[in-house]
């Protein structure tokens, strides 16, 4: 049984994509006393990412050290590099990219280079919404990770989303090729694949994340608890190491 948890990705605030759903950091922390959080702003109804990022950062600052923020950056927005630089200066522990929502390919977007340079300058991870067709398929994310070998690249959704498991092989190849690539466990229904990652030497590259409210924390935790030999590492230790959470 896992004791403490570090949830490596929670979406916070109101979302333009899910009207009526608003995640409040204090409520999540109150509900789960054993869980610390890495938070990122949901895309707010007004799409003002700057204000949403600062709101999340401020909430994390007042969480008693139990929550820290990623900076959600849309590289196609004017001023995105300056925004990333400012949020990292404030204390954000990583960048968050969403090629699907923001309409670019993670493997082919010139505007990304300067944004990622900010992460490289500070040696902090970049989390990428992954598994989306055309924009963040496993080997597209691998291509991105290989271009930025000095920083951890954290892929959401186990790097793949396919109900027939058609992308599992590509996701495994991506892990083999890119030692700086890490996966979030959230939403990966193929428990046999998660178990295979553990038994084939990738247990240190798998991080628990609920990705709430998109996924259900109880179900996502259960996936990790079943990885008995590696569950502690996946639940907390790996994320602490990757994000330098001390």
């Amino acid at each position: 049984m896992v004791g403490d948890w570090l949830d490596a990705l929670v979406f916070v605030g109101a979302s333009r994509y899910e009207p009526g759903v608003e995640v409040i950091i204090e409520s999540v922390l109150d509900r789960s006393r054993d869980t610390d959080l890495i938070c990122v702003a949901s895309v707010p109804p007004d799409r003002d990412l700057g204000r949403a990022n600062r709101r999340v950062f401020d909430k994390c600052l007042h969480s008693g050290g139990r929550a820290r923020a990623l900076a959600r950056i849309d590289p196609l927005e004017p001023g995105s590099v300056q925004e990333a630089r400012e949020l990292v200066r404030l204390g954000c522990i990583g960048l968050f990219l969403d090629p699907w929502r923001d309409s670019y390919s993670i493997s082919n977007c010139a505007a990304l280079d300067a944004v990622v340079e900010v992460a490289e300058e500070h040696g902090i991870p970049v989390t990428v919404e992954s598994g989306f067709p055309w924009v963040s398929e496993p080997l597209q994310v691998a291509n991105f990770a290989a271009s930025h070998p000095t920083i951890p690249i954290v892929a959401t959704r186990g790097l793949q989303m396919n109900m027939s498991g058609l992308s599992l092989e590509a996701a495994s190849i991506a892990l083999e090729r890119c030692p700086n690539l890490y996966l979030l466990s959230s939403g990966v229904y193929r428990q046999d694949w998660l178990e295979a990652l553990v038994t084939t030497g990738f247990a240190d590259r798998l991080l628990y994340a609920s990705m709430a409210p998109d996924f259900h924390p109880e179900l996502e935790r259960a996936r990790v608890e079943m990885l008995s030999s590696a569950s502690e590492r996946v639940a907390v230790a790996n994320a602490k190491r990757v994000y330098g959470w001390d």
Binding site: N162, S164, Y189
Partner: protein, 246 residues
């Protein structure tokens, strides 16, 4: 009684895949499932010329804990005859179609001919229904409307990104059922019950790739009342297949 409507057994040495009945039976034991409906991975007779008989032997050895569904390739002219053989001679309880594997359009005449045969034989047709072309809910809806007397089950209920479409298709077609395997969003299954009631939702796990205990836990997270939960976990599968006593 708990019935898992969607599991797999097969042996594919060329791919290095072994899914023996014991893998299903072990998972059933851990999760408290009474009966599992199993299909092959390969589509008879094109990819497996003796798949139905082998499946029958495997199921027979499980002494009533496993019931078989015939996974067939619509392009084979023998497929309707094989379905009749499987249902009437071997006691199979349904037809499974996987258009990712067969690239047969759900609304193409070869597929419709098989669905019509399933209707004549009084067994349901379970489609792999997810995010790939040929498998989306709206594509399968065309088939459901072409054979309105056939019971069509949307396995995976639309996968990662087509859950809302699957609910819409079930809402407007009374011969369409939803099945719970692997879709990682309990909230969408809850929305399905709110939209169509609990009478056309059946529990499935897609074991052994997915863990049956996790899939069962997911359904229990819906917070259904005892009567509805009993239907989803077993009663509906009995009604759907016409097998009142399993």
């Amino acid at each position: 009684m708990i019935i898992d409507f969607h599991t797999h057994v097969d042996s594919m040495p060329a791919l290095g895949w072994e899914m023996p009945p014991e893998a299903i039976l072990d998972g059933m034991g851990r999760a408290g499932v009474d009966v599992s409906v199993v299909t092959s991975i390969m589509d008879a007779p094109v990819l497996s010329d003796e798949g139905l008989d082998r499946m029958h032997r495997m199921v027979g050895a499980a002494k009533g804990q496993l019931r078989a569904m015939a996974r067939l390739h619509p392009w084979s002219p023998e497929a309707p005859e094989l379905l009749e053989y499987a249902v009437e001679r071997l006691g199979f309880v349904g037809l499974k179609l996987h258009p990712v594997s067969t690239i047969a359009s759900p609304s193409g005449e070869p597929t419709l001919a098989l669905i019509r045969e399933a209707e004549r034989l009084g067994v349901p047709t379970l489609f792999h229904c997810a995010d790939d072309n040929l498998t989306t809910p709206f594509e399968i809806e065309v088939a459901a409307q072409a054979v309105p007397g056939a019971a069509i089950v949307l396995g995976h209920s639309g996968g990662y990104a087509h859950g809302s479409d699957a609910i819409e298709v079930a809402r407007r077609n009374s011969n369409v059922w939803l099945e719970t395997a692997c879709i990682p969003y309990p909230r969408l299954l809850k929305a399905a019950v709110e939209a169509i009631g609990a009478d056309r939702l059946v529990f499935g796990s897609d074991a052994p790739g997915a863990a049956v205990e996790l899939e069962l836990r997911k359904v229990r997270l819906l917070g259904l009342n005892d009567r509805d939960l009993e239907r989803v976990l077993g009663g509906n599968a009995m009604r759907l297949t016409g097998v009142e006593k399993w």
